[in-house]
Structure formats: structure tokens, C-alpha cells
């Protein structure tokens, strides 16, 4: 039976766990740095709404909290892009392009935009910050999107959509 454990680990984590865990700690650290300095819990999806306030007159996007935070949210997002680029240049094995079919990005992107705004947060806001705060609202949101995402991804895979 002692041979079963490594086999199981290899089956569940064919690429190991070190870079996953290290990346996760850094993601948490980035959020923590902003929180300690500013008291702000910075999720990634509010950028979508706050940035729309530059181009839309809809009151929905021009709430004081969006207009007040839109500039630094643009800076935050560009810094995320730059941080990932920095890793790729310094330690990565070259620029990388996904093979996932474009229609999946288009349809999925729209649903992500709608869903995160209805649900008041995304993988970072609810998943990282909310779960870190032991927020019941966030735990419910995360459990919901996780289950639905697993179901949808498995269904598409079963239908032969790949990648």
C-alpha cells in the first residue's frame, strides 16, 4: 500500500506543486502589500467597471468609489501585466500563446464580465481576499463558481471541445 501514495500524488499533480504554491504565496503577498500600505483590499475585477467610467455616462459606472479609484486601478492592472512580463523575461522560457479556441475567450469573457459584477467579485476579490477574511459571502460565491466552472469545463471536454 505504501506505493500508492506517490502514485496518487503524481496522478493528481503531474506537474508537481512547488511553482503552484510559490505563485500562490506571491499573489497573496501582492494583495497584502497593498492592504498594509493603504487598507484597501484590491480585487482585480472592479477595474472593469471603474475603467468604464472614463467612457460611459451611466451613473452605475460613475459612483464616487469608482471615479475615485479608477486611476490607481488602471495602474494596478498595468502593474499586473508588467509583473507577469518581468517573470517571463527573467525566468520564463519565452513568450507564450494559448491554443484555447478564440470563441471560448469571447463567450467566457462576456460571462465573466457579467458574473463578477453581479456577484461583487472574482477569483481575487472573493477567492483570495474574501476567503482570507473568512467572509461567508465570499465562501458561498467561491463554492458556487467553482462547482459551476468544473461542471461546464467537464461538459465541454466531454463534448470534445479541446482545447
Amino acid at each position: 500500500m505504501s506505493g500508492l501514495t506517490p502514485l496518487l500524488v503524481e496522478g493528481l499533480f503531474p506537474n508537481g506543486i512547488a511553482h503552484y504554491a510559490l505563485g500562490g504565496l506571491l499573489i497573496g503577498l501582492g494583495t497584502a502589500v497593498i492592504y498594509l500600505g493603504t487598507g484597501i483590499i484590491a480585487g482585480a475585477s472592479t477595474f472593469l467597471e471603474s475603467t468604464l467610467s472614463y467612457v460611459s455616462d451611466l451613473p452605475r459606472f460613475n459612483k464616487a468609489k469608482y471615479v475615485a479609484s479608477r486611476d490607481w486601478r488602471v495602474v494596478f492592472t498595468l502593474s499586473i501585466v508588467a509583473g507577469a512580463a518581468l517573470y517571463t523575461v527573467l525566468f520564463g522560457d519565452g513568450w507564450w500563446v494559448s491554443d484555447v479556441q478564440p470563441w471560448r475567450f469571447a463567450v467566457g469573457g462576456v460571462l465573466v464580465g457579467v458574473g463578477t459584477r453581479i456577484g461583487k467579485g472574482c477569483t481575487s476579490g472573493h477567492g483570495v481576499c474574501g476567503v482570507g477574511s473568512r467572509s461567508r459571502t465570499s465562501l458561498v460565491n467561491v463554492a458556487t463558481f467553482m462547482l459551476v466552472a468544473i461542471g461546464v469545463a467537464q461538459l465541454l471536454s466531454a463534448l470534445g471541445v479541446s482545447p
Binding site: 503552484y20 453581479i118 460565491n141
Partner: protein, 154 residues
């Protein structure tokens, strides 16, 4: 006072946090939609350690700041828990977001980082997210308007 009027120190902290956040997304490979889809299809469960690792760090830092900290130096905000209120939208939003995440393998933060690792087709997804956020805002505005004037169709 606008968050943006808090000076250079504020922006530098946002930049530092964003750089580390994006760097971590690249290290973890979560910036690659294929890795997220592999997780959702149970081919590689490593993503548990990404989200778990991140939540452990934020959980520890939030708790320590709340217990021992007073106010954030750059804004004067106090370190309290700011929990979002619960209503049915939290579940409805979770379902719609989950469907989108399962179809595309991408979420907002990972999408920005994905652009940084060179994955330019992700602009389709980011564009889609803006369209989705705009449609949701538009729909919400219409609904609020019709509720306010009492001309709701139902």
C-alpha cells in the same frame, strides 16, 4: 478625498503590489488558461495550491493587521474587516462567472497577467469582460429606472 490624490507613496505601493501579484500569477502558470482548464477537468489539481497559498497569506496578514495594526499609513483607513453583504446576487453572479470561467479558463486578474506572458489572444477575453460589465451596468440602470418610475412590465 480621491484615492488618487494620496500621492506618490500610494501609487508606488499599488505598483509594487501589482508587480508581485502579476509575477505570482506567471510563476503559478495560472496566467495560462490551459492550466485552469486542466484543473477544472481534474487533470492537474495544482491550482488548489495557488488559491490556497494566496488565501493563507492574505488571511494571516489581514488577521495580524486587524489585531495589531491601527491605520494604514498611506490613507488613514483602519484595518477592519469590510465584508460584502450577502444576497441572492452573490449566488447568481457566482453561477454566471463560473460558467464563463469554465468556458474560457480565464478570470480578470489572470487575464491581465496572461497578456504579460505574451498571450495576446487573451485581449478577446478582456474585451469580452468589458462588454459583459457594460451590459450588466446597462441592464441594472434600466431596471433601476423602471422601478423608480413604476412602469415595470411585470
Amino acid at each position: 478625498m480621491s484615492d488618487d490624490e494620496r500621492g506618490l507613496g500610494f501609487m508606488l505601493v499599488v505598483i509594487a503590489g501589482g508587480l508581485i501579484f502579476g509575477f505570482g500569477l506567471a510563476v503559478s502558470n495560472m496566467a495560462r488558461p490551459e492550466v485552469v482548464l486542466d484543473f477544472l477537468q481534474f487533470d492537474d489539481l495544482g491550482l488548489v495550491f495557488v488559491m490556497g497559498g494566496a488565501a493563507v497569506v492574505t488571511g494571516t496578514v489581514f488577521a495580524l493587521a486587524e489585531a495589531f495594526g491601527d491605520r494604514a499609513p498611506l490613507t488613514g483607513r483602519d484595518y477592519g474587516r469590510r465584508l460584502k453583504s450577502f444576497d441572492k446576487n452573490v449566488v447568481v453572479g457566482g453561477v454566471v462567472f463560473g460558467a464563463g470561467w469554465g468556458i474560457s479558463g480565464i478570470c480578470p486578474g489572470a487575464a491581465y497577467a496572461s497578456l504579460g506572458v505574451g498571450n495576446y489572444p487573451i485581449l478577446i477575453a478582456i474585451g469580452g469582460m468589458f462588454v459583459g460589465a457594460y451590459l450588466q451596468g446597462l441592464w441594472r440602470a434600466r431596471r433601476t429606472e423602471s422601478a423608480a418610475t413604476g412602469t415595470s412590465a411585470d
